[in-house]
C-alpha cells in the first residue's frame, strides 16, 4: 500500500509592490506551504497506521529537489519531481501528476494541501480525483485512518458547522495547514538526505495554457450597454441607477446541483459569465 502527498514548490513570501500589485519572487523564500507540509505529515501518519510506504510528488522546477530531500529526511520513502514549467493551470498540473500517482506509484490514498501559497485556486486535488476516478474529501480540518485503507475527515461548513466525511481508497483528500505540524528530521537523516535520490519524470504542459499572468487578478469586465437619452442628466441617472429599484438580496435553499445552477445563472445575469453556448 502507498500513501502519496502532492506538494507545490512556491515562493512563500514574494515581494508585492504596494502600488502596482506586481509580484516579484526573490527565490530566497521558496518552499512548501504549511498546508502542503501538513499533507506530508498526514500522509506519514496514515502510512504508519497502515504499515504503508509514503511517496511525495511535486510538479515543479529543479530547485524543488532540495525541498524534496528534506522531506525524505523526515521519513518519506520515495520522492518524485514532475518536471513542469511554472504557472501551469490546475488541469495541466493534475494531468501531469495523475499518471505518476496511478502508473508509477500506484498510490492508494493521495493527500494534498488545500491550497498553494502562490494564489493557487486549490483545484488540483479535485482534478486529480476526477482523473484518478477516486473518491474525494477536500478542505479537511481533521483527518484519521478509517479501516484498512479509508480516510475519515472533518470538513468546515458555513455557520461554524462541521461535516464528517469518509472516503475509501482510491481517495484524494486535501487538508488545511492547521491539521498537522510536520515532524522534524533527525540530525542523521538530515545529514544523509543530501545524497538522497529524487526521481524526475517529464510533465505534460498544457498546450492551451495561458501565458503566465503578469498583472494582478481582477474579475472579468462586465458589458454595460451605453445609457440612452439626449439629456446628460438622464444618462447619468441611468448610469448610476439612482432611481432604479434594486433587486433585494434573496436567500435560497436548494439542493447542491440546483444551487450551483442558480449561482451560474446569477453570474450570467450580472454579465460575469457568457450566456450558455458561448465559450467562457
Amino acid at each position: 500500500m502507498l500513501v502519496a502527498a502532492c506538494v507545490k514548490w512556491a515562493d512563500l513570501r514574494p515581494e508585492v509592490d504596494p502600488v502596482h500589485g506586481t509580484v516579484r519572487s526573490t527565490g530566497r523564500s521558496d518552499g512548501f506551504s504549511e498546508a502542503d507540509r501538513a499533507a506530508v505529515e498526514v500522509a506519514l501518519g496514515l502510512a504508519e497506521g497502515w504499515g504503508a510506504r509514503v511517496a511525495v510528488v511535486c510538479a515543479g522546477p529543479p530547485a524543488a529537489e532540495a525541498g524534496l530531500r528534506e522531506l525524505q529526511a523526515v521519513g518519506v520513502d520515495r520522492a518524485v519531481r514532475v518536471d513542469l514549467a511554472p504557472d501551469q493551470p490546475s488541469e495541466a498540473v493534475a494531468a501531469s501528476l495523475a499518471p505518476v500517482l496511478s502508473a508509477l506509484l500506484a498510490a492508494d490514498v493521495v493527500v494534498c494541501g488545500d491550497y498553494s501559497a502562490d494564489r493557487g485556486s486549490g483545484s488540483v486535488p479535485a482534478y486529480l480525483a476526477h482523473l484518478l476516478g477516486a473518491e474525494q474529501a477536500l478542505g479537511l480540518v481533521g483527518v484519521a485512518a478509517h479501516g484498512d485503507d479509508g480516510v475519515a475527515g472533518v470538513r468546515r461548513l458555513d455557520g461554524g458547522r462541521r461535516e464528517d466525511v469518509v472516503a475509501g481508497a482510491p481517495a484524494v483528500v486535501s487538508v488545511e495547514g492547521s491539521v498537522a505540524t510536520l515532524r522534524r528530521a533527525s540530525l542523521a537523516a538530515t545529514l544523509g538526505a543530501g545524497a538522497a535520490a529524487v526521481e524526475v519524470v517529464p510533465g505534460r504542459p498544457d498546450p492551451r495554457a495561458e501565458a503566465p499572468r503578469t498583472e494582478p487578478w481582477r474579475p472579468r469586465a462586465r458589458h454595460v450597454a451605453p445609457p440612452e437619452g439626449d439629456d446628460a442628466l438622464d444618462r447619468v441617472v441611468q448610469l448610476t441607477g439612482a432611481f432604479v429599484e434594486r433587486t433585494p438580496p434573496r436567500t435560497v435553499e436548494l439542493e447542491p446541483a440546483e444551487a450551483a445552477q442558480a449561482v451560474l445563472d446569477q453570474l450570467r445575469a450580472w454579465g460575469y459569465l457568457e450566456p450558455p453556448g458561448r465559450p467562457d
Binding site: P18, R28, G31, R184, A185, S186, L187, A188, T190, L191, G194
Partner: protein
C-alpha cells in the same frame, strides 16, 4: 543548556563542527574543507545569512588570499567610491567627503552587499570545497568528554531529534552573545556596557534617484558614517547605498538606551528627518526594519579564544571593530574564521585538539590585522563613546564652521583661534579635557 555525556568510544562524526554560517563560520569551514578535513557547518537559519543583518559594507581585501578575484562573482550591490564622515547637531552638519575612483576598479576597496546574498555565497564556497552544511538546526549545547562539566569539548548538541554531533574540535562562530563561548567558560564576565544595539531601515528608491541624490554613477556607491545624531544616547549613525535601496541606521549604547526614555525607532526617525539626511531618503518605501547587537568594546571585552577542543571566532569573540570612523566586522570575522579553520585543521592532523594543540590560533591572530588592529585601537571605542566626542565635539565643530562661514560685515572676520575659544567655552569644553582626549586619540589613531 547543559553539559552532556558522550559515548566514550567510537570515531567522531566529523573532524570539526563549525557553529554558525556567518562570515566567520564559512571562512573557518572553507579552510578546514580545503585542508581535507571532514567538517560540518551548522546554521540555525533556513539558509546562511537568513538571520543576519549589518550596516552594509564589506571590505574584501581579506578575501584576496582566500578567494582570488572574488570581485568577479561576489554578490555586490555597489562599490564604495565615496566615503563621508558627517558631524551633526540638531540643525547643522559638517561633512568630510572623500571620493576615490580607484576604489571603483579591481581590486576595489569596500562594497555594499546584502547579507543573505553574501553569506549564502561564502557558505557555498565552503560547501564546494567539501564542507557539509546543515541549516534550520540550532546548536543548543556543548558535548563534554565523559560528561564532565570541565571535560574537553567533543561536539555539540542540536535541537534536532538524535541531534548530537561529535567532532575532534568545535569552532564557535555563533555571533555576538555566543552561547557556546559562554558555556565553554571562555567569557569571564559579561558587561552590558560593552554592547551596542544597531537598528536599521532599508528604504527602497529607484536606482537613478539614488545615483542622483548621492552623486554617483553606475555601480558606484556611498558610505556615510555619522556622529552626533543620537541625542543623549551615545552612539553613531550610518547611511549606505545599495542598487535600489538605501540603508539608514543607528548604533546605540545598550545600557543608556535601556535607562533612558528614548526608543531606537524614535531616534532613527529623528535622523531621517535631519536636514542633511532627509533629502537623501525621503519618498522611499521602508522595506525592512532590523536590529542586532554589536560587541562594541573590541579588544577589552574579548574572551579567551581557545579552550580544550574549542576555538572562538568573529563576533562570538567580540572581534567587530567599532571605532567611530570604522565599523568593520565582516572582514575581521572572515580573517579570524580563516585563522581558526587553519589552526583546527593542523591540530586535527597532529591529533591534538586540546587547548595546547590549538594555542597557535592566538599567535596567528596576533600576527594578522585581526588582533593587531584591535590591540592598537583598543581605546577607540571608549573615546568615540565618551561625552566629549558624543555631545560636545559635534557642537564645537559645527559652531566653529558656522562662525567661520558666516559673513559678519561690517565687523571684520574673527580669528580662528578666537572662534575656537568662544565655541569651546559656549559648549563647556575645558582645554585640559580636550588636550587629554586629543593625546589619547593621537596615541590610538596616530
Amino acid at each position: 543548556m547543559s553539559n552532556v555525556a558522550t559515548p566514550a568510544f567510537g570515531a567522531p562524526d566529523f573532524d570539526a563542527v563549525v557553529v554558525g554560517a556567518g562570515p566567520a563560520g564559512s571562512a573557518a569551514a572553507l579552510e578546514l574543507a580545503r585542508a581535507g578535513r571532514r567538517v560540518c557547518l551548522v546554521e540555525r537559519g533556513p539558509y546562511p545569512g537568513a538571520k543576519n543583518m549589518y550596516g552594509g559594507v564589506v571590505y574584501g581585501r581579506i578575501l584576496d588570499t582566500l578567494l582570488p578575484n572574488w570581485w568577479e562573482e561576489a554578490p555586490v550591490q555597489r562599490w564604495v567610491t565615496r566615503r563621508q564622515t558627517m558631524i551633526l547637531t540638531e540643525t547643522a552638519a559638517t561633512t568630510l567627503d572623500v571620493r576615490n575612483e580607484a576604489w571603483g576598479r579591481p581590486p576595489y576597496n569596500g562594497a555594499t552587499a546584502y547579507r543573505p546574498d553574501f553569506d549564502a555565497w561564502l557558505a557555498q564556497k565552503a560547501v564546494d570545497a567539501g564542507a557539509v552544511l546543515v541549516c534550520s538546526t540550532t546548536v543548543t549545547g556543548l558535548l563534554r568528554e565523559d560528561g564532565r562539566p570541565d571535560g574537553k569539548v567533543v561536539g555539540v548538541r542540536t535541537d534536532r531529534p538524535d541531534g548530537d554531533l561529535t567532532a575532534k574540535v568545535v569552532v564557535a562562530c555563533d555571533g555576538v552573545n555566543s552561547f557556546l563561548a559562554k558555556e565553554a567558560g571562555l567569557y569571564p564576565t559579561v558587561d552590558p556596557a560593552n554592547y551596542t544595539v544597531g537598528v536599521k531601515e532599508t528604504i527602497a528608491l529607484p536606482r537613478d534617484v539614488i545615483d542622483e541624490r548621492f552623486g554617483v554613477r553606475g555601480d558606484h556607491g556611498v558610505d556615510i558614517e555619522i556622529l552626533g545624531c543620537t541625542g543623549d544616547v551615545p552612539g553613531g549613525g550610518f547611511v549606505y547605498t545599495n542598487l535600489d535601496t538605501v540603508a539608514v541606521g543607528l548604533v546605540l549604547s545598550l545600557p543608556e538606551l535601556s535607562r533612558g526614555d528614548q526608543r531606537p525607532e524614535q531616534l532613527l526617525a529623528r535622523l531621517k528627518a535631519h536636514p542633511a539626511v532627509a533629502p537623501l531618503v525621503e519618498g522611499g518605501d521602508v522595506k525592512e526594519y532590523s536590529a542586532h547587537v554589536i560587541p562594541e568594546a573590541g579588544f577589552d571585552m574579548m574572551p579567551e579564544l581557545v579552550g580544550d577542543g574549542i576555538l572562538v571566532a568573529g563576533d562570538a569573540a567580540a572581534m567587530c571593530l567599532a571605532a567611530g570612523i570604522w565599523l568593520e566586522g565582516v572582514n575581521f570575522a572572515i580573517g579570524a574564521g580563516a585563522a581558526a579553520g587553519r589552526t583546527a585543521a593542523r591540530a586535527v592532523q597532529r591529533d591534538d585538539t586540546s587547548a595546547a594543540g590549538l594555542a597557535g590560533y592566538r599567535a596567528r591572530l596576533e600576527s594578522s590585522f585581526v588582533l593587531a588592529d584591535h590591540r592598537r585601537l583598543r581605546d577607540a571605542p571608549h573615546l568615540v563613546m565618551g561625552e566629549l566626542a558624543q555631545q560636545k565635539m559635534p557642537r564645537v565643530v559645527n559652531g566653529v564652521v558656522e562662525e567661520l562661514f558666516t559673513v559678519t560685515n561690517p565687523d571684520p572676520k574673527p580669528r580662528l583661534r578666537t572662534i575656537l575659544r568662544r565655541q569651546m567655552k559656549r559648549h563647556g569644553v575645558k582645554w585640559r579635557d580636550a588636550v587629554k582626549d586629543g593625546l589619547r586619540a593621537a596615541r590610538t589613531f596616530g
